[in-house]
Symmetry: C2
Subunit: 336 residues, 2 copies
Amino acid sequence: MKTESTTTTLQQVADAAGVSPATVSRFLNGTAKVSGEKREALERVIEQLQYKPNRLAQSLKMGTTRTIGVLTQSIESGYFNKTMTGIEDVMKAAGYAMLIMSGHWHADEEADRVELLIGRRVDGVVILTGNMTDGQILKFSKQVPIIAFGRKLEGERARGFCLDNYAAACEAMELLVEQGHRRIAFIAGPADQEDARARLAGYRDTLNRHRIPVDAGLIVDGDFQESGGLLAVDQLLASQQRFTAIFAANDLMAYGARLALYRRSIRVPDDISIIGFDDLHSSMYTTPPLTTVRQPLYEVGTCIGNMLLPLMGQKSAPAHIPALSLVVRESVRRIA
Amino acid sequence: MKTESTTTTLQQVADAAGVSPATVSRFLNGTAKVSGEKREALERVIEQLQYKPNRLAQSLKMGTTRTIGVLTQSIESGYFNKTMTGIEDVMKAAGYAMLIMSGHWHADEEADRVELLIGRRVDGVVILTGNMTDGQILKFSKQVPIIAFGRKLEGERARGFCLDNYAAACEAMELLVEQGHRRIAFIAGPADQEDARARLAGYRDTLNRHRIPVDAGLIVDGDFQESGGLLAVDQLLASQQRFTAIFAANDLMAYGARLALYRRSIRVPDDISIIGFDDLHSSMYTTPPLTTVRQPLYEVGTCIGNMLLPLMGQKSAPAHIPALSLVVRESVRRIA
DNA sequence: TTGAAAGCGTTACCAA
DNA sequence: TTGGTAACGCTTTCAA
């Protein structure tokens, strides 16, 4: 028997305005016309009591939370966050909030988070890459519509798409070759990530297409982190390989590579050219500014949003899968 | 009249196990002992029906959502995201999910988001800096406990703290002075941000303390973005100011400044020294690696989490406000 | 146009 | 230890 509840309820509004709760609800939702005097009374009372509907109750009743769950891999990642910004913008406009959890590239953890999300009754889920199997995702999609980024997927209530990393990697390689480079080192990403594999394939195939021998000694493993790029170049240099250009499978590794070169006073692009992949915002400000492949991450986000909305029975703008593109800056130079 | 509901309810579990819903609930929550045979039946039925409690219903009933709202300024910002990672880690451990919204440094938008969060009945809110007034926050805190970062605040259910930017800025300046610099340029942050003002004050006061004249021409406005740093240095150079070092109020601007110098073949640190503020992850990999003030952002996040938990009636680890520290790398050199 | 009442899936009080 | 049942705050038939 509380003397006063902390938040006003629809019932209280109804009492104060001298109408039934049903009428208040209808008034609030515009579900039906409310006659002049009641409407005025309601407006006044609602204003006065500062009434705000309890979304929990609404959700329970209507079976929809107007909340989506986003499974990212790391909240810290500039890569994912740009995408999330795109998602946020279209979702906010549609009245959805975002529950965000991270999976840290660990399939078990990812599945666990998705279950948590479903338990919280989100209306939709977006999965940004990760290591779950398509099967797992398809199974989850029986409970909730899912859009996955970073994998091709087609299901009743699940869709997945990725950008053409292979083609873009080829394009980057073409630039290098066209600028006269023949001995091109490649710093690879983690082999368990599809994007990383596609980029490596682009590297290999372009070399083959130009009848340039693929030298295994020129391909070194990285981890998509700056430190990996640094180590990779150290290793390359230690092995006495001769090369005039480096293709780093992502920008972060390009940063690391660039520092390794700097440490030895090897100039970029005078002595060695570097090309990256992602086009992180900072890449415009490295010295020299990095030539790289631009991932239209924000647009990926809006695309995801616009793909998810219809699956939740909402209308949306058409979803265009954006394209990768080469952005030429100053880290690659033509050689004789 | 659905033939089959999409999710199993506690009632269905009760029916299937031949007990009352109350018993199921008690079993699930360990609220009371359940006798042997019923317990077995329940375990079996729950497993078989794959029953998962509806958190919405639980929340409605219990008045707690086990969800916190985080108001960040930009989901894209590496600065905020590192903090969010810290928050996420302690919250996840305590069983809380995070609803994330961004305010984009706009007081109205921020207030709007916080209202949205409250409308969704989050159990707590964290506000990462921003432009709302303390009054606004204090008012919101009547509805929900709030921890704010980037401002001092003390209320019944609101607490705010910030790091000692002033002291850290002084420390950075001391380094420069100690290394023989007298003509030090300062690239300021937005004057409406407390942190930016504190850093500027540290710059000024340190100069004064050493009886080095403060030359207004050496202080130029920035916006905490790379582009602002670039512009600032352009402006400094155009105005023919003589200086041997630059103190950028944050790392991003230091990056921009560094590029502006690079464009003119001015070497760092040989010709000009640069010091930043924040210690973004990338600052370890710039060329040269940036000397800067480290913001212990992840620790700020865990601190926030541990401060919020008690306000929501949960126990937590003790909350230590972490300290800023100077990290000396290679962008500052001693001059004659 | 309006109201009464059932129900969304839980929890917790009161009896038994 | 258990069950019955009244909430939690809302929406939505069904009648009037």
